[in-house]
Symmetry: C3
Subunit: 337 residues, 3 copies
């Protein structure tokens, strides 16, 4: 599959500084790429490898060109160009349509002949599986679910009843879409479960990482907007609405009835409290606790970065008395007026 | 299924202010309910919809009655009454008993004829499945486990060997009950695994959300008390004991050998350190880190709510020097005596 | 299986103070052990049970011997000796080799005749399953994966294509190894997925807890070193390298391209930001947020321990103004010079 560097430059819309005939047969990191491989430089942590890389070509910005002896593909956004190059060099492989003989498909299900259903996968009553859908082994698709064309359930994915999955959605192993939301009411000391009557709608081009969960709505549907990207082990509560093209990193918890805007980015292990609204274009850094609505685009943060344990112990002891400390400062100020 | 409002009032023990003959055919949110639907008002965030709702009837408290033009069901706890109304309007549907032909049931297992076992589910040696138990597709029930009557394993649930599940328990997809606890001891730089000899006991009326895990005990059993409700992606370590009617929100981590009292409520993404005791009726707000036992009922919290990133950066820089700041205040006070 | 105490003393290399002929038929906690059982004392929280235990023998350190009336096994590290005793008393039970008739094994897979493959497990094309490997029910092993000898996939484990699992590895239910990493680049407001070309290498003697996930590398492999122990619901991002004999507690999130040293210990619900390095022998306490590299061995912490909610509210209000408070102290100091 070796490809000429000139073709890659064209595919990723880069300015080529070097030998356009150079053959590229793969990609690698700056540190470990070998001759014949393409690399990229976008994170300054790896600057020291730029001058010594054995890559035959490197994608980088004009400003960094001088530091690199290899052939260069010069672009404004090296990471994006690298992604495009990888997609160009490694196009997705197709699959053989058809149902594995160890798949269990209900007679009332409608499976497009161009779809593929893997071994030990169960397709329930009245499920609809569209064209070019790939459902890997060990999946569970419960009754009345719809999987629209081009979507891919890698393996071991569970889709609960009546959930609707859009086009070109990719769901990784262990994902559960449409389990009951956490709806309980206290009845004299005992918890009463509230039936979860809504469903989940996953729009087109969504990707959801391994072991993430999206709960069905209590009354209306939980909605994941077009192009949303969700990492592993993320929990999305019932009635949540996530705007188009928002990205959520691993281990985030979004409580029920949260509305998240478009093009937001939420860092790993953050938590969003229930019933709050997050505006469009909000960035929440990792491990933040968001307990109130955020009305304006911008960057928001909380959490305390880790330090040496002894220093931390002294500081948290003081934190316990922070209110008192502030009062003491106030008293001093009054004395000093 | 339309039902007269008067019947609903009776079912939820509400005072009816309006037309008892009004036919209710469903439920909806204040904002989106249509004519013929019942709604409720319990969260003040949604007050603005109370006057404009198209719902034919609204469950609310007496104090809010005037703000709402629709028929009213007046109760002390509108959310609870709403839950009762939904349960009245949408009774649980039954299921057909019997084992799917693609279920794999060990010959030594005892399955009640009134139970249902789904496709691609495995029932191991000497397992006991009680009356009216529903085990959905893709579940794994390992040897000697007991599932008592009326319980429901929705789909893709794993029950490890010797685990005992009580009556009317509901386990959502991806739940794993009885995996080995994290028991290791350091032997000269290498970790030595300690066999986990205990099991897990889940008492009656427990519900556990998608992809949550409850580890088996090291020596004695891990115990989840009656009526406990656990949300998605919660981790319960080995030897933990959870008191009756406690509720735990999503993504909480409970380390080993923690004892949690009765009727506690633990907010999302909180962490409980190992070997601590939590009294009855303790409320822990979301994202709290609990490293010491809590001996008295009450509300406990930690964590820092997210703010504007620039302000946060300045504050965490100061936090690193908080102990020093406190010393400086002390010095000033001495000077000012 | 009763065993003489003298034999146990020898097996765990303990000094016996008591009756070497005493028969031990099991183990129990100090609090609940009965006559004929062996217990241990290593956590001072349980000191009050040391004098009253009904255990026939207790493993403890010399310093605590006097407080205990039972037969004693005296060692330097009671917990470690207890672990060794349990391993001696409860050796792992073997399994019957062979493939369950409801297993689905691709014709191109190579399965050692000494391996066991459970019901409803799928073994994909060109997979290699080594000697004495146990793969429980409901597992998914995708194409070209290698499971080396003596490893155990308990049940419901997913191994994605090309992943290599070493010897004597133990993976608990719901584990997903080799799902795509979270690699996306923003292309004019839409996220472009970057193909994840690397794989995952799990070295020998690793154990990974229920519902944990280890993503495949973007370019190179994600690597989990020899003897690493990972608890439940841990997320390991793409390109991460974890050094030998590191232990990671439950619900930790490790972002992409993090390099963790050898013999580290990471407490539950901690988060490590992307592209950082953690030195060997680093201990990170629970719920810490690590956003910068840690270059030296030591103990590191962050997070605020939970306190009474009213006190916490006052303190976090002050925290919001901490930078301002520090400036006010500075101003006072200048006045007081």
């Amino acid at each position: 599959m070796p490809v000429k560097l000139g073709e890659i430059a064209e595919a990723v819309d880069a300015e080529l500084d070097g030998n356009s005939e150079c053959l590229i047969s793969g990609v690698g990191t700056l540190k470990n790429a070998k001759a014949g491989e393409l690399s990229f430089f976008s994170n300054r942590r790896y600057f020291s490898f730029l001058g010594t890389t054995e890559a035959s070509a490197v994608i980088l910005s004009a400003a960094d060109g001088q530091a690199c002896p290899a052939n260069k593909l010069i672009v404004a956004d090296p990471y994006l160009a690298y992604v495009k190059a990888v997609r160009f060099l490694y196009p997705e492989t197709g699959f053989q349509p058809g149902c594995h003989e160890a798949a269990v498909i209900s007679t009332s299900a409608t499976v497009d002949p161009g779809a593929c259903i893997g071994a030990n996968t169960y397709v329930g009553e009245h499920v609809t599986v569209g064209k070019d859908v790939y459902i890997g082994p060990g999946c569970i698709i419960e009754s009345n679910a719809v999987i629209d064309e081009g979507s891919c359930l890698v393996a071991g994915v569970t889709i609960c009843h009546d959930v609707r999955i859009g086009k070109n959605v990719r769901l990784h192993p262990g994902v559960v879409i449409g389990a009951d939301g956490f709806g309980i009411a206290n009845d004299n000391g005992r918890w009463l479960k509230i039936p979860q009557l809504g469903s989940v709608v996953i729009h087109d081009d969504v990707e959801i990482g391994a072991n993430s969960t999206v709960d069905r709505g209590a009354l209306e549907d939980t909605v994941v907007g077009e192009g949303v990207k969700i990492d592993n082990q993320v929990q999305i509560g019932h009635n949540v609405i996530i705007g188009d093209h928002t990205a959520i990193a691993g281990c985030v918890g979004v409580a029920g009835s949260v509305h998240i805007g478009k093009r937001c980015m939420i860092g790993g292990l953050s938590a969003l409290s229930g019933h709050i609204d997050i505006a469009d274009d909000v960035i929440i850094t990792g491990m933040s606790g968001v307990s109130n609505s955020i009305r304006e685009a911008g960057v928001y943060s909380s959490g305390i970065p880790a330090t040496d344990n002894r220093l931390w112990r002294r500081n948290i002891t003081r934190f316990k008395h922070l209110d008192e400390l502030a009062r003491r400062v106030k008293a001093l100020e009054e004395k000093n007026q």
